[in-house]
Structure formats: C-alpha cells, structure tokens
C-alpha cells in the first residue's frame, strides 16, 4: 500500500508529457496549437513569411521530426522533400499529408485560401491527435469545435465584406496562381501571372496574354504577394495602366496582423475589396 503513491509518481511524467508535433505549414502550426492546446508542443519548421515552395529542411529539422509523434504537411506537392523526411529521419510518428485528404479538384496546393478547407483540416488534426492520446478526446473535440466556430464567424464576415464589392468587379490579378480556392469560394475570376509555384517564371507570351486580359476585363488593380518580387507586376502595370494594390498573403501566415489565420484572411479580403470596389 505504501508503494501506491510511488506508482502514481511514476505515472505522472508520462501523463503530463506533451504530444510532440512537427508542422511544415504555418496554417497547420496554428491549427495544431489551437486544437492541441496545452497538451501539445508544436514545432513550426516553416516560419511566417518564409516561402514554403522554396523551403528545404535542415539537419536540426530532421532531428525534431525523428522525435515527433505527429508530422503535419500541406501536401499537394508543396513539400518536395517529403520522401527525404520519411527516409532520413526514420520517424515512427504519423506523417499526415493534410492537403491530400481534402476535396480539391485542381493542382493548386494553396488549400488554406478556402476557409471551408481549413475547417476540414481542423477535424483531420483533431482526429490524429485523438489517435495519439485517446484520453484527451474531449479536450481536443472542444478546442476544435471552438476554433471551427471562429472560422464560421470568419466566413460570415467575409460574405458581408464581399457584399460591398460588385460581382462584376471580382477579377483578381495576382503574381502566382495561389488563389483558385479563394476564387471558387467567393465568386472571383483569377488572372495569375505565374504558375501555382512562386518559382514558376512567366513567359513573355504569358505576360502579353495577361496584359490583354487585364485590358479586356477592365481590371484596375493587381496584387503582389508578401513573399514575391513584384518586378513583373510593375511591368504589367506600366503596360495596362492598372495600379499595384496591397500585398496579399498567398503562401501562409505572415507577421503583424497576418500572424493568425483569421488576421491573414481578413487582410486579404479587405485588401481586395477596398482596392477593387
């Protein structure tokens, strides 16, 4: 009987040990922290403002991954190093390619530009954390429900803000093709200068086509991105007379007001509506 307190003392560190999560997406880092709360330690390998298309994991990242119980990836070919993660770390953690589990008919990997997709991603992360720690099922469910409710409020806010913008002005010219989900969810037509990756460079024919499309559609404003060099955009504005609008966050969270998903999304919506209306 005297050994009973000692037995509980031995159990205590195991019970209090946090779930180790590695994330290669700023949006998934936020989701894991929101859903996991105090029960998780999340390492965000891709920092806010870093271009995930260009990111390559360093040896320290691989060591962290090797020790993680859950590894979250954007997927949809965003992380070209996914094979290296599996092979070189020998991790026994669950490697979850979130984007591949979402209903997304096209090649655009920027699934977080749809709030609905982020809500689905929250449920995926909740389920994976629950598998690792069934004892925390209720906590993860409550945290996920609260976060999804906030995202519902974000959807409502977005609809109200977009109602200020006539539907015939919902034409979005961006530097790389990262807003297909945003466009589909909110009734926009997209004219992208580059491909779905920020490293894709536009040909002179593509630039000429975009210039013609901008003139035909009567687009007054085109949008650079937080990470992108807007050199080509400037050339197009010179040709079309359109002005350069505020920067949009295409590849994930940024800093300041864009440090949270809600802040990032509101920044983008406000920038688009105020510039086009």
């Amino acid at each position: 009987m005297k050994l009973l307190p000692l037995f509980f003392c031995l159990l205590l560190p195991a019970a209090a040990e946090k779930i180790r999560v590695s994330s290669f997406s700023t949006v998934l880092t936020e989701i894991a922290r929101e859903v996991g709360g105090d029960r998780v330690t999340v390492t965000g390998h891709v920092r806010p403002g870093v271009d995930p298309h260009e990111y390559e994991p360093k040896p320290a990242d691989l060591r962290t991954v090797a020790d993680s119980q859950l590894i979250l990836l954007s997927a949809k070919h965003m992380e070209g190093y996914v094979g290296k993660l599996k092979q070189s770390t020998g991790t026994k953690g669950a490697l979850i390619e979130v984007g591949d589990r979402l209903p997304s008919p096209d090649a655009d990997p920027h699934w977080w530009q749809s709030v609905g997709n982020v809500q689905r991603a929250v449920k995926i992360v909740r389920d994976e954390l629950t598998k690792i720690s069934p004892a925390d099922t209720a906590l993860f469910a409550a945290n996920a429900e609260r976060y999804v409710a906030r995202l519902d409020a974000l959807k409502k806010w977005t609809k109200e803000k977009l109602a200020e913008l006539p539907r015939d002005r919902r034409k979005l010219v961006t530097s790389h093709d990262a807003f297909q989900y945003f466009a589909r969810e909110n009734g926009f037509t997209i004219y992208a200068i580059e491909g779905v990756s920020s490293s894709d460079q536009p040909s002179s024919k593509k630039v000429a086509d975009i210039v013609r499309a901008i003139k035909e559609a009567g687009v007054k404003t085109i949008f650079p991105e937080s990470i992108e060099n807007p050199k080509v955009l400037k050339e197009i504005t010179r040709e079309t007379g359109a002005r350069v609008g505020p920067e949009l966050y295409a590849d994930g969270l940024g800093e300041g007001e864009a440090a949270t998903y809600e802040g990032m999304y509101k920044h983008n919506v406000t920038a688009v509506v105020d510039a086009l209306k």
Binding site: K159, E160, L162, A163, E164, L165, P166, R167, D168, R169, R170, G187, I214, K215, A217, G218, V219, K220, T237, R238, E239, T240, G241, A242, K277
Partner: protein, 138 residues
C-alpha cells in the same frame, strides 16, 4: 546627290538621330502611361423583391453594396418593393438585416427576387431574434 559617301552617311545618321530621339521618347511615354483599362459599368435596372416571414418582424433593412435600398420600421408578414440597382450579368449580393421580438421562435424569411428580364430567384434564411444574412442572386 553630290558629296562624298562618308558625308552622305553622316547626314543620314544625323537625320535618324534627330527624328529617332523624339520618336523613341514618344513611344516610351505612351507605354509608361499605358492605355487606360476600361470597365464595363453595369446598368441600373428595376428588380422586384417579395418577402415572406414565419414570424412578424419588428424591423427590416436591405442593403446593396453597403447602401440601404429598403428600410421598414414596421414590416408586415408579407411585403414587396421594386428597387433600382446595378444589375451585372454576374449577379448581385443583398444583405438582409431583420429583427424579431425577443420571444419570437426560430423564424424564416423567404425572398423572391424578380430580375429585369422577368427571371425569378428564390432564397431563404433562418434566425432566432434576428436574421443578418447576405444572399446571392445569380
């Protein structure tokens, strides 16, 4: 034409330089300003709105592009109005703000919009105490 070939070549070069510089400036300025992008403006058209409620509302406000197009401080269970708004072929979004009495049950609003060409669109929204909803008509 008389004169040495060298002199003639020099004269030709000077002519090209004198005419070419302003021509280059002219085309460069034109590219820098660019032709202005033209935007087709949606025509203002009359559309008819008919609303039905399952509980009597205490106030109604309908907004289009952030502007009030219909305000009623004492609306009936069924009401209608013709409003004139910009009607692009991509459709319109209307924001409906309806308030009900505090003890009203979960209430529904049905909106029937008749477009300029006589086409009909129907939408509905639900709320307890109030409805604040953007409805799209396309």
């Amino acid at each position: 034409m008389k004169g040495s070939p060298l002199l003639r070549a020099l004269a030709a070069f000077l002519c090209i330089a004198v005419l070419g510089v302003p021509l280059w400036r002219l085309t460069r300025t034109s590219a820098a300003n660019g032709p202005p992008a033209t935007r087709e403006v949606a025509a203002m058209r009359a559309v008819h709105l008919a609303l039905n409620f399952t509980s009597p509302p205490t106030s109604l406000r309908v907004r289009h592009l952030g502007r009030d197009i219909w305000v009623d401080a004492a609306p009936a269970l069924a009401l209608e109005k013709t409003v004139t708004i910009a009607w692009p072929r991509e459709g319109v979004d209307l924001r409906f703000e309806v308030k009900f009495s505090a003890d009203a049950p979960l209430s529904a609003m049905r909106v029937r919009l008749t477009g300029p060409a006589g086409e009909e669109h129907e939408q509905s929204a639900w709320g307890r105490g109030e409805i604040d909803e953007v409805l799209s008509f396309r």
